[in-house]
Amino acid sequence: MTSLMPLTTVFPGLVWLMAALALVQGLRRAALWRVGAAAPVAWLDGLAKLPRRYLVDVHHVVARNAYASRMHAVVAGGLLAASILTALAILPPIAGFRPYWLVVALAFGVTAIGSLLVGARRYPEKQKRLSAGRFQILPFLLVAYAVGGTATALLLALGVGGVFAPLALALAAAGGLGLAFEVRHGPMRHAAAGALHLVAHPRPGRFEGRPDTALQPLDLDAPRLGSEMPADFTWNRLLSYDACVSCGRCEIACPAFAAGQPLNPKKLIQDLVAGLSPAEPAYAGNPYPGGRAGEGERGPLARLIGPDARIHPDTLWSCTTCRACVEECPMMIEHVDAVVSLRRHETLERGALPEKAVGPVTELRQAGEPGGRPLAARTDFAAGLDLPLMAGRERAAVLLWLGEGAYDLRYGRTLRALVRLLREAGVDFAVLGPEERDTGDLARRLGDEATFQALARENVATLRKYRFERIVTADPHALHALRNEYPAFGGRFAVIHHTAFLLELIRGGKLNPGRLPDLAVTYHDPCYLARYNGETEAPRAVLDAIGVARSEMARSGRRAMCCGGGGGAPVSDVPGERRIPDLRMAQAAETGAGIVAVACPSCTAMLEGVPDRRAEIRDVAELLLQAVEAGR
């Protein structure tokens, strides 16, 4: 080098400059998060657990796509290693040690290979789910930095300089500074915001191996209810949306997107990101089905929802709250929380529920039941069956929670089967009868937190009057509310899904089912059982116990596709090009099974409503009853 400073100082200096630029760009973005509301964050705990959350929880999701996982290991690992090693070389003893530069060159070389892997996803043709825009220049920046870095480190290792050194250094500088610059608006933001998001995650419970899926109760005395504008979100939620890397895994999983309803989870999160700052570059991924472009004002105090705002109300009401997007998100973003928070503002502050949802929600508020039917009629399905009431006996081993499905003629058959199985097994059970109100699940998913809280308090008061060991319910929505959401209102109960309870009875020898080897069955996982509660094995074990030929759909377990019946979507009824249950039944038909086993009243109703279906819809309890009767 002929300049004043030797290359061994300039090169590490470049990395330090990059770090400084990244920090400045990051802080410029972080200043925007400060408009968000305060949130309690366990900083030290989060920092200590960051490596584990990244290497275990994030990796678990990323690794579902093996290519993406390997690509990140090489490019991110290489980038970090090469940059840190080079930065350390600012110390003269290290800088003067030539073999050290050979190691650095190796690290840069690995990065270069990773950069090519990044590029291969986007060139010659971009994968459909990925976003274009600034993401398209990422491979070039990476290649420039990695190749420039490799060359510079090699020159240092060999001790040669000359005309090549400034060229290699310039290449590395262009790529490296470009990458650092991208921390504010570009692709590299996902690395910085993503790491911080893992530390300050609003649901730290999900990294502890338990499903942390209960919606957080809303303080109904707060001056503003729900989120109207970006500033209404807590700061760590704003941070979490910035972590979005626009990979589009959520959009592949989203049932509303597949059905052509105007919802794309990626675009929704990107609209929240773009809504925060007018300076945000244009979105370059797949649009909402229907192709509505983002319009309206942008800024921390700009309204987010409206026919003339960034997010159309139809987008908001298309969500079935199935959590498929959350399950697939490698950045651990909580899309459903965002949707519900926005819905809460629409419903509680503006009364802007979808027209068709007003009736059911009003009846829920006034009659404790979305159909406005008498609570005493809930047990009508059991005409002729002996169904003991809790009120007459004060205590029972099991409280059977009937739920909304009891009013439905079709689902009444399932409940009758369940009651007969409980009788067969000699279970001591009772129902609340006219004292059972709706859990308020529908109101809560539609944002009417006030009605939900009123119903929750009334139900908790009723349940606390009686003595029972466990609540058994055939409705995963009721299960989720009772088990996960009622504790916030003083009701801690042991709640178990009927499939898990029936499995216990089989394993305990109380039920002795015969075998039904002639039936070909595929099991459809309810979202509120599989994703919200992580229970996928019990229903399958029951089906295996009765010896049916069981096959799996391509999407099953925690990654199953929604039936379209959750989150108030059936009452909101946002039009799409296709219907979600039709799509799901087509997937079921691919297995060739003649029976689709279900375990939820919503799934039963949605899937039975599919025209031209070949397969029969049977609840696990109905199949088990058939097997028990065959075994006699």
Binding site: T347, E349, L353, V358, V361, T362, E369, P374, E449
Partner: protein
Amino acid sequence: MRIAVLLSAGRHPVSGTPVLPRLEAQAVRLAAGLGEAVGLHAGPDAAAVADALGQGLGRIEHLHLAEGADPVPALAARLGTLAPDLVLAGRRGQGGPESGMVPYALAEALNLPLIPDVVAGSAGEGTLRLDQSLGRGALRRLVVRGPVVVTVHPDAPAPLAYAYGRARRGTVEAVTPAPAAASVPEIAVEERPYRRRPKLVKGAPAGGSAAERLKAATGESGAVASGRVLVEPDPEDAAREILAYLRQIGVLAPPAAPGDR
């Protein structure tokens, strides 16, 4: 336009919980589309009608009356003070102690015209255009001027969704009612449980085809079907026609024949 909406303490038809009657919630929606509205409730407790605050009203005036007291004098006195351009009410109550007569009694006390069964309204230049339901989907458009009492028909647009935040911001204001002059004599009523009865269609053919029975049930035969349309008739002819029609359907006695014995 200043609007007063009369609110009554109703009950949910199934659960029996105190609620704002649906018709009055529809009246609130109509009022919200027309101008600035205030709710008016006379009775012992305003808790049930406070729902209206979440469905489009900003303010409710509560005239505190003892249980069972006649609300008409208090409402008439308050409406006399407020002098609204429009008084909206439901066409009937829902589950509470109601006679269905309050709008009529008020209109009489205030000496205002009453227009029943309205499904929509829009404001003009000092006038009010109202769509009145005639049943079976038939509508009549009226243009009225000056203060009127209007009752709302169930075919009016569905009530607005209840917004908890709005209800929280609305106010219920206690207003001391004017002392009632005299208590009204109680109407003697008999109460007995409701029994569903088949609907009798007058003059329905016992047999005949389904189409004929439908025609009979929907009134597309008989007196209505046999009517005649006269375009710009001579007033004498018109009067004669009306008299003939009234006699035909039995409202008026048949004329004494001139050559009667």
